[in-house]
């Protein structure tokens, strides 16, 4: 294991990227910070800039307008980083698959600019907070 990956796994700081989600996954992500789940006790912290982040929590199936911004945010995140596709839409566009304004899903957009990106998937509509925590822990433990 390279020291970069080793350090990535300790208290990951995350940046939240909404790419056209319905808000549900986003609320559940914010919910993680509040007293019932409180992931800050595990060192997981939402940060205000992708340049500070170890991981991206991406929600939504990527709309046409959001796709260039998602690529830009990924470009700004220091590597190595983990991209978490949170929710059914982020994993495979979900119920919006046939939408004319959808160009996703997330892994397709990210792999266009970095074929070796580390992408983890947390399905669910929306995934429960427990599922998101479990997804993050599982992904970090296999790195």
């Amino acid at each position: 294991m390279s020291w970069k990956i080793w350090s990535l796994k300790k208290s990951p700081w995350v940046f939240h990227v909404n790419t056209g989600a319905c808000n549900n996954c986003d609320i559940e992500i914010v919910d993680l910070l509040t007293p019932k789940f409180d992931v800050e006790r595990l060192g997981i912290k939402l940060v205000g800039s992708p340049r500070h982040a170890d991981a991206l929590l991406v929600t939504g199936g990527v709309t046409r307008q959001a796709a260039p911004r998602l690529r830009e945010v990924y470009r700004q995140t220091p590597k190595p980083c983990v991209v978490f596709a949170i929710g059914a839409c982020a994993c495979d566009k979900g119920i919006f698959t046939t939408g004319y304004h959808m160009v996703g899903p997330v892994d397709k957009i990210i792999k266009e600019i970095d074929p070796n990106a580390i992408i983890a998937y947390v399905p669910g509509c929306p995934p429960k907070p427990e599922a998101i925590i479990s997804g993050v822990v599982t992904a970090l433990s296999v790195l």
Binding site: H16, N18, G20, V30, L46, A66, G94, F96
Partner: protein, 578 residues
Amino acid sequence: MNQEELNSKLSEIKDKLFAVESGKSRAGSDNRIYLSCESENSYAVNKFLFEDVPLRFVTATGVDSDDCFEVLYHYAYDQTSCVITLKAFIRDREKPSIESIAPFLPAAEWIEREIHDILGIEFNNHPDMRRLILADDWPEGVYPLRKDAKKPADRLDGEPPTRPMVQSQSPARRTVQLSKPVLPVGPFHPLQEEMEFFQLTVDGEIVTDIDMRISYNHRGIEKISESLQFDQVPLLVSRICGICSASHPLAYVQAVEEIADITPPERALYVRTIIAELERIHSHLLWVGLAGHFIGYDTVFMWAWKYREPVLDLLEEITGNRNNYGNLKVGGCREDVGDELQPKMLIELDKIEKKTEMLTKAVLDDPIIHARLKGVGVLSKEDAIQFAVTGPTARGSGVAIDVRRDDPYAAYADLDWNVITQPEGDVFAKAVVRLLEVLEAVKITKQAVKKLPGGPIATEVKEIPPGEGCGHAEAPRGETFHYVRSDGGNRPVRHKVRAPSYVNVPSFKASCIGGHIPDVTITLAAVDPCYSCTERMAVVDRDGSVLHNYDALLKLSREKTARISKELGAPELKMEDL
């Protein structure tokens, strides 16, 4: 139609409107009025309806009919629970155009831009016909909601995978804006919620102009809906917005029930009320928490979100999911509120009520919050009517509209509750409205649980006949409006959705301008937009370099709170107090 005929018809409308009894029953299509006119007359008729009757503008719908285009203007007359739809027919399919109504009705500005984007209808004399809903790189001349439209390639030819960060704008606009300091807000912001881009023009500390760009979240739901069966659409529309995932399906099923003339069983109406009110409780608590965060009261943020959790647990127990309940269907509900659950619900609701009362008292008695929020981001009653805002945003400006009372649906007519209004129009008034509405919602839910009648929760629905229906429901943020047209098949041929934020967000033009930069975060958040894009702001100077980032702005907002707190002589918070 010539002018005389039109005039006589319009005076008939006026008579008819005022003659409708303000009886509060859901009288099927009795309180739905459909009018038709040719596109040349639409300006005059709309002006008459908005200014002389006067009606509240709801939205407009563009429809691609076989031989013509239709623009449907929806109005509401809240006193008699009427929804009036004016259909303007545009016969020229090659170069469709119609007179814009935005010059006298600012609320119509966005929807006309949207119809121009998706159907290619020109609006003559529109003040600002820039692209609204489609992406910057959407190919010209492709109108997605036309029946013959094809999905274009995901990317324009030759576009590089990453693009420069500068917002694409016409060169003319860019030079105008760069002559003054500009404050872009968005499109990404780290804490939560959706993408949205605001551009504030500032003069020192004062905001002099605000411009908005949406589209980041446009998923084309209206088009997807045309490809789904009537019974599948509620699952789609509940995913328009995660927090309004009871209100959107509710408005949709009411529109379809209106077409098919279905009355759901009484128990279903009560279950719908319970779900909708639980949703209101958790949505308003969510807002209170975020508002606290924006002015530097993280304690309120943590409290409110903690008290919100039991509501989500109740919803999970009833419907099987914390959000996206998927509980509504045409003709009734899918999941019942079990009898064994009712005692538990009453206990939990009592707890929620006590905690909310405590929170309300803590917020309303705090001299610092008074000083910080009163007089900030004022939306006057006149502006509220011009921008046709709805929900707590309207009620906080003294406009007493509430679909639950004005056009009762579900079981609201049988229950005892009040519409909360505040006259001031500032952020504080909106906070008061929301907090008191949580208490009202608890009251409604308790009554509904206690009075829950027996019987089935759904009727069988066989066919949806041809026709059209308008359904609206009071979402936590305001009126959700759905228009559905059926041709007798098993899919809607047109399904128009108007979410409350769509009319509430443009009112920033009235409430933010003239305010201070530290007040912008909370003013933008005060309408509880589905994209409260107040994170990740940056002040940019002439050559585009960043002077302040979002954290600095949040800090400005918090410092103002601290300054006020010092001036008022409030004791400093010490560790022992916590």
